[in-house]
Symmetry: C2
């Protein structure tokens, strides 16, 4: 029986990938993942067998991963960021555990730098206090539930990190979220937008809740909304923790 | 003028530290941080100058870091986990930016694997859906605000990650949180407790909202409370994302 490593490769830059993740990829016989992520780590893959699948073929990809492991191979199933945050870990583990115990491949989850960690490091220090992480993708989640979560996070004065803020087919969700948040927070609440964090094309915008626009955001963006205490200083976004400066 | 790298060293195991973090530590002339964290990376420090300070001396530590950098040294200021999540990034950046522009050392924040990422990878896949991160330390935050955030996170059906769930002086906060959550969630909601994630002494407990006890938790624990959909399967905690298994 082979083994499955569910690997978070980080934002996409080898210098942000943990040694544990790198070793799992280098020692695997088979690599499985989205085409986009496979490309990001191509220098580590060499001549290995690759299971490439497109977006929305998650179940097929996990099944192929499990089949390879059951045939004796060691497989690295990769997600960008952290495989444990909106990644592939849940689905593949569930599918592995559906098998009778004697037929289950071994597995491990290897944590990675997720988009929220990467974006925060680029913006300054927006996550010094409690925060909520919400995906705006309504592909697998009811949009009403997502909006309710935005309301609850706003009511709790959480810093809010928005994953999947926009896609080609989904452009207005972020504007509805902006409207909801403006009912709870000041117009000048800092908003940070990091696109392609940790990659060559990385960009950073610091704006406000009132002024940021959907045009500044794409499917590779992470949006961070400050809490009531977050401020901008010399181009950096900081959420204070309350240390006494005496 | 020297330079300050604000480095998240990850949970404490070199194999979970990014190459970027490692390089910043290895190339720094001075290392600053809590004694406990300095010890975790002692093999990387060699004969470097060390600014060791105890807990609650954050302002002093940042000032000493800035003084060294202004004297021309490159300094790595380390936090465990991610320096950008409840770490040292906010305070030191604020203090740097208080200086006149010509007197500011350069700085960068290097993201790391935070406790929530590490704990999730050990428990299975609890963070496949929206989650809230809350610290139960009321040292610098009003306890009423913390409880309000717990209520809001519960109302929004977020998976909830609790940092600093308990300390020697603060043992009842986690029990109050348990009481609040029991008003919103089923008694058998899965609860995962990971202590010393990524270190030799790592332990993992999977319990329920009704049954977990404060005795199972200490200051090195991260507590993860499932949402209404989270389930336990063969000892792993999984929050489903809703993929169609056809």
């Amino acid at each position: 029986m082979g083994k499955i490593s569910i690997v978070g490769i980080g934002p996409g830059n080898i210098s942000d990938m943990t040694p544990k993740a790198r070793r799992a990829i280098e020692t695997a016989e088979v690599i499985a993942g989205y085409n986009t992520y496979i490309k990001l780590i191509s220098e580590l893959i060499g001549g290995k067998k690759i299971i490439r699948t497109a977006m929305l073929q998650e179940v097929e990809r996990c099944q192929m991963t499990i089949d390879e492991a059951r045939a004796g191979k060691s497989v690295a199933l990769i997600s960008s960021g952290d495989a444990g945050i909106y990644g592939m870990a849940g689905l593949v583990i569930d599918m592995i555990l559906d098998l009778p115990e004697s037929e289950r491949p071994q597995f491990e989850v290897i944590a990675g730098i997720s988009a929220v960690n990467a974006a925060a490091s680029i913006l300054g220090a927006p996550l010094m206090h409690d925060f909520a992480v919400i995906s705006l993708s309504d592909l697998l989640t009811d949009w009403e539930l997502i909006k309710r979560r935005v309301e609850c996070a706003a009511a709790g004065d959480f810093v809010i990190a928005l994953y999947n803020p926009k896609s080609k087919k989904r452009v207005t969700n972020i504007l509805e979220v902006q409207e909801i948040l403006l009912r709870y927070r000041k117009k000048n609440t800092p908003v940070g937008i990091v696109t392609n964090a940790g990659r060559l094309e990385e960009t950073k915008i610091i704006s406000t809740l009132e002024n940021f626009t959907a045009e500044e955001i794409n499917m590779f963006s992470l949006v961070l909304i400050g809490n009531s205490q977050t401020y901008v200083k010399a181009g950096f976004m900081i959420t204070p923790r309350g240390y006494s400066r005496g």
